[in-house]
């Protein structure tokens, strides 16, 4: 089945559980760990949500809609975070390492904007570190978005 590729100028959000949030010794979030971009062995692609596909007209509304949709199919902790990246930026970082990822729309029941990053190597930790440090534009607490 052929999936629609996300436009370069659009944005994806990755749900990052608290365990994969980089925090200081006092528990203050300071970033996203590389492990947050490591797909599980049984996953074909890295799950993300296509923000523009929510139909919302501003970022905060799109993020709130995304968290609500994710919450219908899984438990989303208040301290989990949504990490936001631009599609082109994400792909460029991979391409600079000779990794050709495809970011495609894979709608799910109850989560129509669901998308996947395909062909992202799960063991290339230095690439995942670069994605966590350079591709992530900002990250937001799910608790504050649900409040």
């Amino acid at each position: 089945m052929s999936h629609q590729k996300l436009p370069d100028e659009h944005h994806i959000a990755r749900l990052v559980p608290w365990a994969r949030v980089d925090k200081d010794a006092e528990g203050n979030a300071r970033g996203i760990l590389a492990a947050a971009f490591q797909r599980r062995e049984d996953e074909e692609g890295l799950s993300v949500n296509w923000l523009e596909r929510t139909g919302q007209t501003d970022l905060q509304a799109a993020l709130r809609a995304t968290v609500r949709m994710l919450s219908t199919s899984m438990k989303v902790g208040a301290k989990a975070r949504l990490a936001i990246a631009n599609v082109r930026g994400f792909r460029d970082i991979c391409a600079a390492r000779d990794v050709r990822v495809r970011i495609v729309h894979v709608p799910e029941l109850g989560n129509e904007p669901h998308s996947e990053v395909r062909q992202l190597p799960r063991q290339d930790m230095s690439l995942l570190e670069l994605l966590a440090r350079e591709a992530v534009l900002c990250h937001h607490s799910c608790g504050s978005l649900l409040a």
């Binding site: 100028e9 994969r20 010794a25 438990k75 460029d92 600079a96 900002c138």
Partner: protein
């Protein structure tokens, strides 16, 4: 469809991403040669099997057990740790292994991974506790960050560690990752100046 964010000041602008890759193949090959005879597949350990969630034990019980095992293990080496440091570590474990934040499908902290973490702390003796994270496979991730430089060390079973680091060199972000054994971690990190991440207890660092 236009982008939502065209009118938003994003935290960082995207130009052509310029990245530098360093794969420390020398150290990987060294590990393969010098690994101790007891080394086994670090990805699957007996503890993993014990801590695999089962229908007979609730997630609450599994997390309680993981926290308790970690604290008991820490108490066994408490004479080597400052009290405040140890109490802070306990608070971090409680915060990390929080039932309300648990992600479906994640494995609880594995005891073998925690044992490697404690040996790492006793070897490095950082004055500042690292931040703690956990992989989906239940491996503890210790992280330090100074300015824009970050070091993460994933503690695997049997004294195996996986390091991931990134920092800026001449305006370029450089990233490196590799696997090694605990005893070699400070040697492997030497080219990157590990002292910027952990100031070590003076008597041990000398």
């Amino acid at each position: 469809m236009s982008s939502l964010f065209s009118n938003h000041a994003l935290k960082r602008s995207f130009g052509a991403s310029s990245v530098v890759q360093i794969n420390d193949f020398r150290d990987r090959s060294t590990v393969a040669v010098s690994a101790p005879a007891k080394r086994r597949d670090a990805s699957v350990s007996a503890t993993d099997l014990i801590t695999t969630p089962s229908s007979s034990r609730s997630l609450e019980e599994l997390l309680y057990e993981a926290r308790a095992q970690a604290k008991i293990h820490t108490a066994q080496v408490a004479m080597h740790m400052d009290d405040a440091w140890r109490r802070g570590l306990y608070a971090q474990l409680d915060n990390l292994l929080d039932r309300d934040e648990w992600f479906e499908g994640d494995l609880p902290l594995g005891h073998d991974s925690y044992a490697t973490f404690i040996r790492l702390m006793l070897l490095v003796r950082p004055t500042q506790r690292p931040g703690l994270g956990l992989s989906a496979q239940g491996k503890l991730i210790a992280s330090w960050q100074t300015n824009d430089a970050r070091l993460s060390i994933e503690c695997l079973a049997f004294d195996q560690v996986r390091y991931v680091l990134s920092h800026h060199v001449d305006g370029e972000r450089e990233a490196a990752a590799g696997d090694t054994i605990l005893d070699r971690i400070l040697i492997v990190l030497t080219p990157y100046g590990p002292d910027k991440w952990f100031t070590r207890v003076a008597s041990e660092a000398a």
